[in-house]
């Protein structure tokens, strides 16, 4: 078993790329598609977050990459290999399950050594290697405990050690932080990120928490029901969302829709249904007069003042519905004629001129902070993120 030993102890040769490519992947359960038309390339060595609400198909994609689900159509490549139909070990993937899936009848040392046992590595050797892996996650002093005797955070480290002992090209994490309390979550988040930096392998991480995705990912893939809405860096996703859905889902954005009145010098003039007007700098976008256009404005790029009605460009009037202190800023929710609008006012600006529920206010912003969305906001039906609560 010398080949196995070498395989386990040494890092994978560099040419074994952990690039993941999904081509026209679809998965059907009965008559419904869980995911459809998935085309995605995750570069080698990147930290990719699949982000979306529950039921959007993100876990299905992860499980198809892992080999625990077979796509109904389409192809999945890891490195140069088409992996559909291959076993997880042949793919070079390792999965960390949401429930951690530690074997309850085995000590944590044997849990970690399980992969080596399956490769017929001798008992002494595999325990030695597993112990080294446990040292890496700082749990070697608990090696003889059973999984049920560990805390959630410790169980997760064991699960991590068990995944990493397979020396994978790709580590797949299914909502790895969802079972932890806030404090541990932040700590493990940092550890996952530094682990990925250290190992340099591809991480694919499924989550429904936006801050988690933004904090961790080199690449965020935002999913809606069964399809990918946008896949880009966290910065682009957050600042330049492509669709109203992404803008709303990522939070931190107000989505405004208006009819194009004119397009002069690369600036669209828009008029919303309730009469307020705003401008947006056109990039590549073209829109003829009379067509609908949606734009987004970041909540923290909005200025607030007391006032009753407004006729200025780039402003909207409304009544304060609620204020929520967030430490460094105050989230002010405003009911306008066109719907809910949220301004995140810095605490200094807020306490200089505090507003309270029922106050009439005007929110304004500058044209530079307006981002044009690729498709007009068709509304609202079935969009749970419309209330601006995120």
């Amino acid at each position: 078993m010398t080949t196995t030993a070498a395989h386990v102890s040494n890092a994978r040769p560099l040419q074994e790329s952990g690039e993941i490519r999904l081509v026209d992947v679809a998965k059907q359960f009965g008559n419904t598609y869980a995911v459809q038309n998935i085309n995605l390339t995750i570069p080698h060595g990147s930290y990719c977050c699949l982000l979306g609400p529950s039921g959007c198909g993100k876990t299905t994609i992860l499980r198809m990459i892992a080999g625990h689900e077979t796509p109904s159509s389409g192809e999945i490549y890891i490195g140069k290999d088409m992996v559909v139909g291959k076993a997880p070990v042949e793919r070079g993937t390792a999965m960390m399950f949401q429930s951690y899936a530690l074997f309850p009848h085995l000590s944590i040392l044997d849990n970690v050594a399980f992969y080596l046992k399956m490769r017929n590595v001798g008992k002494e050797e595999r325990r030695q290697k597993a112990l080294e892996m446990l040292q890496r996650v700082q749990l070697d002093h608990l090696k003889d405990r059973m999984p049920a005797q560990l805390s959630g955070g410790q169980q997760q480290r064991v699960a991590l050690a068990r995944s990493l002992i397979t020396n994978p090209k790709v580590l797949l994490l299914d909502e790895p932080l969802s079972a932890l309390d806030e404090f541990l979550r932040l700590r493990m988040r940092g550890e996952l990120k530094s682990l990925q930096d250290e190992l340099g392998i591809t991480f694919v991480h499924v989550t429904h928490t936006q801050p988690e995705a933004i904090a961790l990912a080199d690449m965020v893939v935002v999913m809606d029901t069964g399809r990918i809405d946008q896949a880009d860096t966290a910065n682009v996703i957050f600042n330049k969302p492509k669709t109203p859905y992404v803008a709303r889902f990522m939070g931190g954005q107000n989505v405004l829709t208006g009819t194009v009145e004119s397009n002069s010098g690369g600036v669209f003039k828009l008029k919303s249904a309730d009469g307020s007007t705003f401008e947006a700098k056109a990039g590549d976008e073209t829109a003829s007069a009379g067509s609908k256009l949606s734009v987004s404005v970041r909540r923290d790029h909005v200025a607030l003042r007391r006032g009753d009605g407004t006729t200025e460009v780039n402003s909207i009037a409304g009544v304060v519905d609620a204020t929520e202190y967030q430490g460094s800023y105050v989230k002010v929710t405003i009911n306008t004629a066109g719907g809910v609008f949220v301004a995140n006012v810095s605490d200094r600006a807020y306490f200089a001129e505090p507003v309270d529920t029922g106050d009439k206010v005007v929110a304004s912003w500058s044209t530079e902070d307006v981002h044009i969305l690729s498709k007009a906001d068709t509304g609202v039906a079935g969009d749970p993120y419309l209330d601006g609560g995120h």
Binding site: A66, V89, A94, M95, F97, F103, Y115, T166
Partner: protein
């Protein structure tokens, strides 16, 4: 100051709550078993019947009688064979129901199908083997017509074979149910985690499913062992009276109103079954597994 009286007062409801079960157990379990033990030391006198006494004669009679040993040997043989067959069948049927049938509704439906044999009486279930296994039964006539054999197989009915067939038929469900129960509690992602770690299908079964079904297997084994050890009816009917079991001895003694020896027989059987049960529980810590 207040704790002592409260502690005293709170004892009464506790005793009351425990009382019904204690009374039921005492009346229907402890008292009868104690009676059997007591009677087993009595003397049996022809024409008179039971004479209160303290004698070990019944036990000495039984243990020095080669028939007792033959009966126990045959019963243990049946127990082991039936245990092995019902375990293999029960494990695979439960495995299939839990891990291969995706729809819960179909799984429940198939589970009910397993209980179909229990919709008729024990006797009918046994008798119905006769037209299948008999000299002119289904199997023999089919084999004869196909030319596989030219003489009917005699060992199909009224033999150890037919006894085992009947036992398996009757008792496999008692193996399926507890194994099904413990398998159903296995987190499916454990199987995927094992596959992820490179386990083959057999590797998953051997390293994950089997160890996590231990409780069910132990309970099922306990059912089957007690049922086979305690049976004399199936073995008598299906062997055509050629084989007996440990319990047949008790039955014979009862027919001759030799209650002391029957009681001694019962005590010996009880001890044997308890020893087997103890060794099963030694292998599997059921209490620990149940709270897992």
């Amino acid at each position: 100051m207040t704790s002592a009286p409260t502690a005293k007062r709170s004892m009464l409801p506790t005793y009351l709550q425990v009382a019904p079960l204690t009374i039921v157990l005492a009346l229907f379990f402890i008292v009868p078993v104690a009676l059997v033990v007591v009677v087993s030391f009595f003397r049996y006198q022809m024409l008179v019947g039971i004479v209160p006494d303290f004698t070990l004669k019944n036990y000495i009679d039984l243990l020095s009688n080669p028939t007792t040993w033959t009966l126990y040997r045959s019963t243990l043989k049946f127990t082991l064979i039936v245990l092995a067959i019902t375990f293999v069948l029960g494990f695979w049927i439960a495995y299939f129901l839990v891990f291969h049938v995706r729809s819960l509704l179909i799984a429940i439906g198939l589970f009910l199908v397993c209980t179909v044999p229990f919709w008729t009486s024990n006797i009918i279930r046994m008798i119905s083997w006769r037209p299948v296994l008999g000299t002119e039964g289904l199997i023999n006539s089919a084999l004869l017509k196909m030319g596989v054999i030219d003489q009917p197989l005699q060992w199909l009915l009224y033999s150890d074979f037919s006894v085992v067939v009947a036992y398996v038929h009757l008792f496999t469900l008692f193996m399926i149910v507890p194994i099904f129960n413990s398998m159903a509690r296995i987190d499916k992602s454990l199987l995927e985690a094992a596959v992820d770690a490179g386990a083959t299908r057999w590797g998953v079964i051997w390293n994950v499913v089997l160890p996590l079904s231990k409780t069910g297997i132990a309970l099922g084994a306990l059912f089957v062992v007690t049922l086979v050890m305690g049976d004399f009816f199936v073995v008598t009917v299906m062997s055509g009276g050629l084989s007996g079991s440990a319990t047949s001895g008790i039955f014979n003694d009862l027919q001759f109103l030799n209650y002391p020896r029957a009681a001694a027989s019962a005590v010996i059987l009880l001890i044997v079954v308890l020893l087997i049960a103890a060794s099963i529980f030694r292998l599997v810590d059921v209490r620990k597994e149940l709270v897992r």
